[in-house]
């Protein structure tokens, strides 16, 4: 049997962001997989230190491009919890609409790339066409297509005007019209089913043991969603279903993500119908631009938000309006530990399907912790260079 070691990545059409997996093959089957990370480490947690809250609010969106609103929402939630800020109803509704639009955009983008991995380029191009409608909605509501910058402490930056409503509803109707077509393609087309079913099985016990989050866990039958368990913003006032699937393979995760798009459209329509008439409060123009809030007693705070990929968790130490320490745990950080266990014993043709069914977002995932002699130390850039280079 022919044996060789094949490097998948760092540059590969399979992965949209750089990561290296060294796979050792025997014939057509994989024997062993080893993951090497670190190609896109940006040092975000160090960049946040000793910067004022209003600066970190805008920097937190640049942690990731696809899930940028989820990180900004986490930071705002942490600060508002500490300072005991009450946001008015309209601001909460606008934030929820932007979060759900981002979920639709992320899932459609994922669907297009997943179909490209198995060779269905037609559905890839159709998916990019649907995504273009959502990006036009973003530009009309927030000013920019990808990085929205709409959050402020206690309020939002732009209001939701009545003349924007037909624009948004028309585009959502176009996306909703094509959704049953995509579901039919995934579940009834025999080539797609032959490629996706029984590939990358994660049983329910294994998902629970590794604390999986997001659509990966919901595709294995676990009901885990922060929007239902600990509702934030406007989620306690709307009505939507939690989608789970019991088949535990890649096909189940695809179907879960497509059906979640339908639920997000349902949430947005309910919120637009019930939008209150009041005006949003203006943001403050007096330093430090946070508004009139009493000085907090505690120093630590956290924020917990359902990003498109799972549960996003930020933990901050805030002192006198300045961020002292940040710890960002993204959903991909939690599920990436399952990847090299699933790759053993599969064929080469299954590797792109498994990697893409995880929906990995490496650029928000990478953190660095140096462990030496059992003790943990966190270094900044100069310290690292002095010690280890």
């Amino acid at each position: 049997m022919h044996e060789c070691t094949l490097p998948i990545g760092p540059q590969s059409p399979t992965m949209k962001e750089p990561m290296c997996i060294r796979v050792s093959l025997e014939g057509n089957y994989v024997n062993d997989a080893r993951i090497r990370m670190g190609y896109i480490h940006k040092g975000i947690e160090h960049l946040f230190e000793n910067k004022s809250i209003i600066k970190v609010l805008y920097m937190s969106e640049h942690i990731c491009g696809i899930c940028s609103y989820a990180h900004s929402a986490c930071f705002t939630q942490a600060v508002e919890k500490l300072y005991n800020v009450h946001t008015p109803k309209k601001a909460r509704y606008i934030r929820t609409i932007v979060a759900e639009l981002e979920r639709i955009h992320s899932h459609i983008l994922w669907f297009g790339f997943a179909m490209h991995e198995i060779g269905y380029d037609t559905l890839f191009q159709y998916g990019m066409r649907e995504r273009e409608y959502i990006l036009e909605c973003f530009e009309r509501l927030t000013g920019n297509r990808v990085i929205h910058s709409i959050n402020k402490i206690g309020t939002v930056r732009y209001d939701f005007k009545k003349k924007d409503v037909p624009f948004v509803l028309e585009r959502l109707a176009k996306v909703e019209k094509m959704l049953p077509f995509y579901l039919k393609m995934v579940e009834k087309n025999k080539v797609v089913v032959a490629r996706l079913s029984n590939v990358g099985r994660i049983s329910r016990n294994m998902a629970r043991k590794f604390c999986a989050v997001g659509p990966l866990a919901r595709g294995s039958g676990i009901k885990a969603d922060i929007r239902k368990d600990r509702p934030y913003e406007a989620y306690s006032e709307v009505d939507f279903d939690l989608i789970t699937d019991n088949r535990c393979d890649s096909l189940a995760r695809t179907v879960v993500r497509l059906k979640e798009v339908g639920q997000s459209i349902k949430i947005i329509k309910q919120l637009i119908k019930r939008m209150p008439e009041e005006k949003i409060p203006p943001f403050s123009k007096i330093p430090p631009y946070l508004g009139k809030f009493p000085e907090p007693k505690d120093k630590f705070s956290y924020g917990q938000v359902e990003a498109p990929r799972g549960e996003n968790f930020h933990f901050y130490k805030l002192e006198k309006g300045v961020v002292k320490k940040a710890r960002i745990r993204t959903p991909t950080f939690q599920i990436i530990q399952l990847l090299d266990k699933l790759l053993i014993g599969v064929e080469i043709g299954d590797i792109p399907v498994i990697i893409s069914s995880f929906d990995p977002c490496f650029s928000c995932m990478e953190r660095m912790i140096v462990v030496k002699d059992g003790k943990k130390e966190v270094l900044n850039e100069d310290g690292f260079r002095a010690k280890y280079c």
Binding site: K51, S52, I54, K55, V56, Y58, M59, E61, H62, T122, Y126, R129, E132, E139, R140, L141, T142, G143, N144, I147, S149, R157, Y158, F181, K184, M185, N189, F283, K285, P287, Y289
Partner: protein
């Protein structure tokens, strides 16, 4: 049957692509493009330079501020906090250049827009 009919239909329809460089791209009114700095209205409070998250603003003196559009990431903090509304966004986004000295704000004189 669904995909066959869709492909056959789309063969005769107009393509979805917008022929961008030959057809002008339109922006909306909230679009965040190049910064316009009105030097007459500036009072020299330095708040934009202190609070910029990417340190793209250099304050020389009242009425003379450099905005480096290459470092800016268009968050809009300076536009929001300027007490006299001397900084604004324009609709211009096609100003890529090989010379980094050309990547600056536009300077205008006049009243702020309401």
């Amino acid at each position: 049957m669904g995909i066959n009919w869709e492909c056959f239909k789309n063969f005769f329809k107009k393509p979805f692509t917008k022929k961008y460089p030959f057809v002008k791209a339109e922006t909306c009114e909230r679009f965040r493009g190049r910064i316009i700095y009105k030097a007459d209205l500036c009072i020299g409070c330095k708040q934009c330079a202190i609070n910029c998250p990417s340190s793209a603003i250099k304050f020389h003196k009242k009425g003379k501020i450099d905005f480096n559009m290459g470092e800016c990431f268009y968050c809009g903090l300076c536009v929001d906090i300027c007490p006299v509304n001397a900084i604004e966004f324009s609709n211009e986004f096609e100003f890529a250049n090989k010379d980094p000295r050309e990547l600056k704000n536009k300077i205008e004189h006049g009243k702020p827009k309401k």
